[in-house]
Point group: C2
Amino acid sequence: MRPKLTDVAEKAGCSPTTVSRVINNHGYISQKTKDKVFAAMRELNYQPNTLARSLQGKQTKMIGMIVPNITNPFFAELVAGVEQTLADDGYRLLLCDADRDSDKEHRYLQMLEANQVDGIITGSHNLGLEEYQRVGLPIVSFDRDLSDKVPIVTSDNYHGGCLATQALIDAGCQDIYFVGNPSKTGNPTTKRFLGYMDTMASAGLPSHTARSAFYESPLAKSMAMRELLQSDRKLDGVFCSDDLTAILLLKQAQRLGIRVPEDLKVIGFDGTKLVQTYLPELATIVQPIGDLAALLVKLLYERIADPDKHLDKNSYVMPVKLLRNQTI
Amino acid sequence: MRPKLTDVAEKAGCSPTTVSRVINNHGYISQKTKDKVFAAMRELNYQPNTLARSLQGKQTKMIGMIVPNITNPFFAELVAGVEQTLADDGYRLLLCDADRDSDKEHRYLQMLEANQVDGIITGSHNLGLEEYQRVGLPIVSFDRDLSDKVPIVTSDNYHGGCLATQALIDAGCQDIYFVGNPSKTGNPTTKRFLGYMDTMASAGLPSHTARSAFYESPLAKSMAMRELLQSDRKLDGVFCSDDLTAILLLKQAQRLGIRVPEDLKVIGFDGTKLVQTYLPELATIVQPIGDLAALLVKLLYERIADPDKHLDKNSYVMPVKLLRNQTI
DNA sequence: TTGAAAGCGCTAACAT
DNA sequence: ATGTTAGCGCTTTCAA
C-alpha cells in the first residue's frame, strides 16, 4: 500500500497537519520538525496524492489541449512546445486529438471538465462558441475567434499571405495561384488568402484560386494539383496554404517535368522544424511555433490566476518570417 | 458553483446514495426514481467529479504515455493511435515528452504516480529498470525490454533489417552500408543492424557501418553522410536505420549528383503515413503503427485488470512489411 | 509552533 | 428499493 500523509506523520512523530504544512511550506514550522518530516517522507518514499489534494479545491495542475490532428507536424511541434513549457511549471498535459470530429471534440470538452483540468488550450475548431462558453473553464484559443472572453493567439496570417505573394511577384511571377481552401470562414487560411488577394491587387495582377477539394485526402489533393499543372492555364507561381500541400505540388511538378524554380515558383506556409530540416529547399512563411506555444501557456496561466480579469487585449498576433529558399 | 451529487439528490428528492447508484447503474433502482434523477441531472447540468470518484480507489481513467519526442512523425503517429484507442474507451491520455532527458523522464514517472494514472505506456528509455519497477503501476513498454514483468511490444526489427538488406542485395547492390547507431544496446536499431549483418554474411558480402554521431542533430548527420558519399569508399546501397535519416541521405546524394537508384539504392525504416504520403518514392520497412498502438493499449488494459496475472508471453513482436519503391 | 476536527464530492458497507 | 454512515487522503479553520 502506498504510504499516506498519516503514515509520514506517525513516523515523524507529529500530526498530519504538520506534515501537510511542511509539504506545502505553509505557516510556521521549526526546522527540527521540518527535518524529521522530510526524513520520514524520504524513508517511506512518500508521494502526495494529487487527487486528494485537488479535491480541496486546489488546482489539478492539468491542462487540456485539443488539437485537430497531432499527426500534422505543425501541431506536433505546437504540442511539443506547450508540453515543454507546462512541464517546466509542474503542469501535465491531457492531449485530445479531435480529429476533425465535432462529436469527439464535444465529448472531450466534457471529459476535461469532469477531470477538473485547470484550463484548456484549443487549436481545434469544430465546435461553436456556445459549447466553449458553457464550460466554465479558463480557455485560450489558437487561431480562432471564439468570443471576446477568450484570448486568441495566432500568427500574422494576413501578413504572411502578403509576404508570400510579394516574394513570388519579386521573383518575377505573373500568373500566381493560391492553392488551399479559403472558403471555410474563420480559419487561418482565409487570412492568408486575403493577404494574397490584396497583394495581387496592389500589383495589378489577376488572382487565381485552386480550391477544389482541399479538405480531402492528400491523394485527392495531388490529383487536383496535377490537373492544375496539366491544364492549359498559364501559371508560373503558386502560394500554397501550407507546407504539406506545397510538397505535394512540388512532387507533381517534378513528375510532369516542370522545373522549379525555373518554370514554376512555389512557396508554402508553416515552416515547421521538420519540413525545414527535411525539405530545406522549400520557401515558406515561418510561424514562430515556439513563441506561439509559450504565449498560449502564458495567457492561460493569467486566465487561471484570474478568470474574470478584464482582457485589455483579446487577440495576439505573432509575427511571421519569410524564408527564402530554392523553390522561389 | 458546480452542482454536486447532493444538489442532484435534493432536486430529485432522494438520497445521495441513490443518485450515485443511478450514475453508476449499480444495484436496484426503480425506473421512476431513475427518471427523476436523470431529470435533475439534466436540469442542473450535472457532471460527476472524477477526482472525488477516483479518491475512493476507483480508476482515474487516465493513462500516461512517455515518448522520446512527439515531433518525430513515428511517435506522433504512435501517440495518435494510442490516443484514439483510449478515447474510444473513455480513457484520457497524459502526454509526456521525455526529450531524451532522463531527469525529465524520472520526474514524469513521479508525476504520473502522483496523478494516480491507471497505467503507463513507455516508449522512451532513458531510465533503468529499477525506476520503473519502483513505480507500482501497470506498465507496458514499446521497443524495449524492461523486465519479464513488463510486456514489451515491438516490431520485428531483426526481420525488418533482413528484409531491407535482402532487398538491396536483390536489386544488385554489392557494397551496402548500414547507417545508424547500433551501439547503444537494447534499442531497436541494434536489432535492425543485426538483421543487416546476418543477411550480408549469408550473402557472402562484407558489411560496413557508418555510425558516427548519429544521435546528433540532423545537420551533423547530414555532414557525416556527405563525407561518406564523398569518400573514395565504394558503396552502391545504404540501409538507413530510419526514414528521416534516409531523407537526409537522399538529399546529400542529390546535391552530389549521385543518381538514385541508378548509382545508389536507399532503403529506410519506419514507414510512417507522413513519409509515405510526402515522400512516396522512398523504399522502406513499414512498422504497423496502428496495430502497435492498439496492442499496447490492449495489453495495458489486461495489466490494469489484473496486475499480477502471470504473463504467458512477455514479448510481442509485430510483423513488418517491405515497401518497394523507386529508391531501390 | 503545533494539533484536533471538519470537510472537499463521492462511494460502499450496512441497515431498513 | 432506498437511506444512513463512514471514510478515501488531504487541507484548513480554529484552538491551544
